[in-house]
């Protein structure tokens, strides 16, 4: 028999209706370096309706993709509201990717409209001629200047929406229809598009507001440093609409000093960013102390946060840093590191430094080197696979069965799951060194090498080995004014690691190559090694 419950689809339109009426007094605040721009959610909703009318007129009548090439600001938020609510698909372009990837992604998604910040035009203008499906560009926050391309009409955002009706009859959608999409830059092959549904965004927003999620409430003002093109700013814009939390949008002012100024001026209760931002902010605060006591908590994700940064925020500023794990493919909220109630202080730190506990909606399992699910015993190491209503089951127009395992997403992250659901990641699957049927974590090896006082940075990659399949190669950046050689480093490690893990291959380099989001780019290192461009010392 069926339930008697109403068949009400979960939809962004309902989220927009609710957030901009019941929570019409909540605020979206955009930093400008000068006087912040403030808009109530009611006002934002009226402008989103105007934008939707304008897009209809430009021919956005079905599920066309409306892309954004924007910082976190008021107009980007308006596009977030208008596009999925009108039944079209929001596509957030990552402004930090290489030019060829951006145009590949825009063409693959068949973007029809792009909304661009005027401040990003120097970056965008050279890309536009490569975007073959784009017919309209809308420039927000300034003038289009001489932007032009064949077959493309350029509009000024404010001119386009001016004078239009501030109400829009948002259509009813199927909750499994596409609402938004985001491409992962990927480590092999072309970027892949994850398509969020109305259903997945609604459910994920609820999770963000759960006490054991990010605990977002009406009382919060969230500084969303994490870009709106980076896994939907971790779901904060839609979750904020769901409960009427206000948002503080930093626009292009992502340097430590203006971020510290925002904290003082607007007193947010919550802030979300990748570890490097928090490291930079900590350094800034140490130089120029400011009052950041408004923060109830700080969210960190994207990569593991150095423990000393977490401890510094908590011990010196009284602000708990909450570790979270997720990826574009998981909407992104996977796990959040709330320590269980009633544990000792030492245990508490062990839990806080983990990647966190998976919630009921995100099932996880560890698949070991033998390809079989391993026990959740906190010790068996393997690749994390996840499953759930806001986890992707495929990519847009891209079949890649290697990313899926019997309906589970292969995350590419390697680590353990404890019986109480806590995830501890040790490496990326592609970076782990498969040596003689055992796995060596490249990250753990790097941390051990970087503990040496003469080492500034160290990146470990796997290199082919006739006997052991793979062995680790350590690329080392020596600190200025220091000297150290491979034999010394190996001796240093010998005290800490089992003999079979000790690396024989060493390379001394000027700098570790980095990705667009500041992570070690081991793909580049591997390529250099393959091309014979890395000087290697073999012990």
């Amino acid at each position: 028999m069926r339930g008697t419950m109403q068949d009400v689809p979960l939809s962004i339109a309902d989220l927009v209706r609710y957030g901009t009426s019941v929570h019409g007094e909540a605020s979206a605040i955009t930093w400008t370096g000068d006087e912040p721009r403030r808009s109530s959610y009611a006002h934002t909703g009226r402008r989103a309706a105007q934008l939707a009318h304008a897009l209809r007129e430009l021919g956005v009548t079905a599920d066309q993709r409306v892309a954004t090439f924007q910082w976190n600001n008021q107009e980007h938020f308006e596009v977030y509201l208008a596009v999925p609510a009108m039944g079209a698909v929001l596509h957030t372009l990552n402004i930090r990717l290489p030019a060829d990837q951006i145009s590949y992604i825009a063409n693959h998604a068949e973007d029809y409209v792009v909304v661009v910040d005027a401040s990003l035009l120097p970056l965008f203008a050279p890309l536009l001629p490569q975007m073959s499906t784009v017919r309209h560009v809308i420039v927000a926050g300034g003038d289009p200047g001489d932007l032009a391309a064949d077959g493309v009409t350029v509009h000024r955002y404010e001119d386009l929406i001016a004078g239009r009706s501030t109400e829009f009859a948002w259509p009813r959608v199927d909750e499994r229809d596409a609402a938004a999409m985001c491409y992962t830059s990927g480590t092999t092959g072309n970027p892949k598009g994850v398509v969020y549904s109305h259903r997945s965004i609604w459910l994920h927003s609820m999770q963000v507001c759960m006490s054991d999620g990010q605990g977002l409430s009406q009382a919060d003002l969230t500084l969303a440093v994490v870009p709106m093109f980076h896994a939907m700013s971790w779901g904060l814009p839609y979750a904020s609409l769901m409960v009427g939390a206000s948002v503080l949008l930093p626009d292009r002012f992502l340097q430590p000093a203006p971020l510290a100024d925002m904290l003082v001026a607007e007193r947010p209760t919550l802030a979300a960013a990748v570890p490097t931002i928090w490291q930079g902010l900590l350094h800034e605060l140490d130089q120029n102390p400011r009052d950041i006591s408004s923060l109830r908590r700080v969210l960190v994700g994207g990569s593991a946060c150095p423990p000393e940064v977490m401890r510094a925020f908590e011990e010196r500023y009284g602000v708990p840093v909450l570790h979270a794990w997720g990826m574009t493919e998981t909407s992104p909220l996977g796990s959040v590191a709330h320590p269980p109630a009633g544990v000792s202080d030492e245990q508490r730190w062990s839990y806080r430094l983990s990647q966190g506990r998976l919630p009921a909606s995100v099932q996880g399992r560890i698949v070991g080197p033998d390809g079989l699910p391993a026990p959740n015993d906190g010790e068996s190491v393997g690749e994390l696979e996840v499953r759930g209503p806001w986890v992707t089951g495929g990519y847009y127009r891209d079949e890649d069965p290697a990313k899926f395992d019997d309906g589970w997403l292969r995350t590419g992250d390697v680590g353990t799951l404890s019986p109480d659901g806590f995830l501890r990641l040790t490496d990326r699957a592609k970076d782990v060194i498969k040596s003689g049927g055992e796995w060596i974590s490249s990250v753990e090896l790097e941390n051990q090498v970087m503990a040496h006082p003469a080492v500034a940075e160290a990146a470990v990659i796997a290199v082919p080995d006739p006997k052991w399949d793979e062995r680790p190669l350590v690329a080392v950046v020596v600190k200025e004014g220091h000297k150290v050689d491979a034999a010394q480093l190996r001796s240093f490690l010998a005290e800490k690691l089992p003999r079979w893990q000790l690396p024989e291959h060493w390379s001394f380099i000027e700098e570790v190559p980095k990705t667009s989001v500041g992570k070690f780019d081991k793909k580049v290192l591997r390529q250099r090694h393959t091309d014979g461009k890395l000087d290697v010392v073999d012990l």
Copy 2:
């Protein structure tokens, strides 16, 4: 285009799997008057699997209804886990209803199995012969004694599950399938069955755990006084499984003294009950002070909580009382009265005394005396109608279009909705007095009369009037040792109410009749008036 998200159904089976593994160390604690019974969620899960095997053997292979006739205790919790997870339908029978209603409900739902507490056998035994579809009775927590009926096999719970496998391959279900059902006793006609789906229970559980819902987290231990047969104990059992909150189950010990003892002994962080329970507890604490400081908050719903009770808990015990509104038809969580951030102390109390703010998932509107939606201006009075994924859109085998309005549920509650989404109820639609095209709130009139120092209780009903359609009749219970007459009461009201609202009809009675949940039973009063059994003074 469609989203690429995985098509994972929201299901109680996944909730059970998650709650009993990741949160296997959470506790279900059942009060006994003596040493409490303690069971981990892991243990509870193993017993639920055993119960599922036993039920399969009894013939529960599809969507049969497995009813409960139980207090809030360990075995009831086990049935909550096992029955929906195995694909059958949990049907919680309200032990406090009149005998004929209980058997009507069991027959209407076609209950196949009933699980009964041994302590309730005196109440249950006379009902069993009237239950025509029941084939198996399982007696929990004691011996069946001489319980018997034609065609019914009687089992002892512990004997039935003993020795069975502690694992069960919970089947995959469609999320819109029935998971549980609960009948509303209704005010007119027969009781009506609301059928919750796996989807509605999952979504509702997320709401219970949202910061602006009930904020349930892993750190909570919840004293669930509200019965598991009363709108699923307000969703607490399933929400607790979702985040690993522990539960404290009071069994039959619902009197103020044992409840106070539980608070002291187990130190719950959260407790949920109807106002009369809190009034009784307050009285008990005033007589015999105890430490209830473990409570972070107290939930009250079912009917409006007297302001002095809310203030007493907050001011004398430091425990905030959180008003919530809902009904069986809304799963039940509708609104929760969290005051908005940044309001004055006075405003805060005004918000706290309201029925609360509707969340994004529960849309509300006010329909006025003219049958048209009225503005959400906090002033226009009308019937509340609601819509959402955990609001019922019908009843089990019962067509009653009068309860629905173009897809919205007519709640039967009368009041206002403010622009910021706060609900303030003034009456029930059936109790409101429709006098000359205006509505007089029976509840407000009762409160005004009860403010007179000689009045113990007062209940107001509408009586037919040739000129005004309806006029109020006030049934008054005078306090022992006091005297007052109708003219004196009317003069007392004249200072506070507009002239057209002053009642002409008065009746002095011994006691106001009450429903099974302790509310004024105005249906009985109306019947007495219709039958001419009420002595009326007309001024």
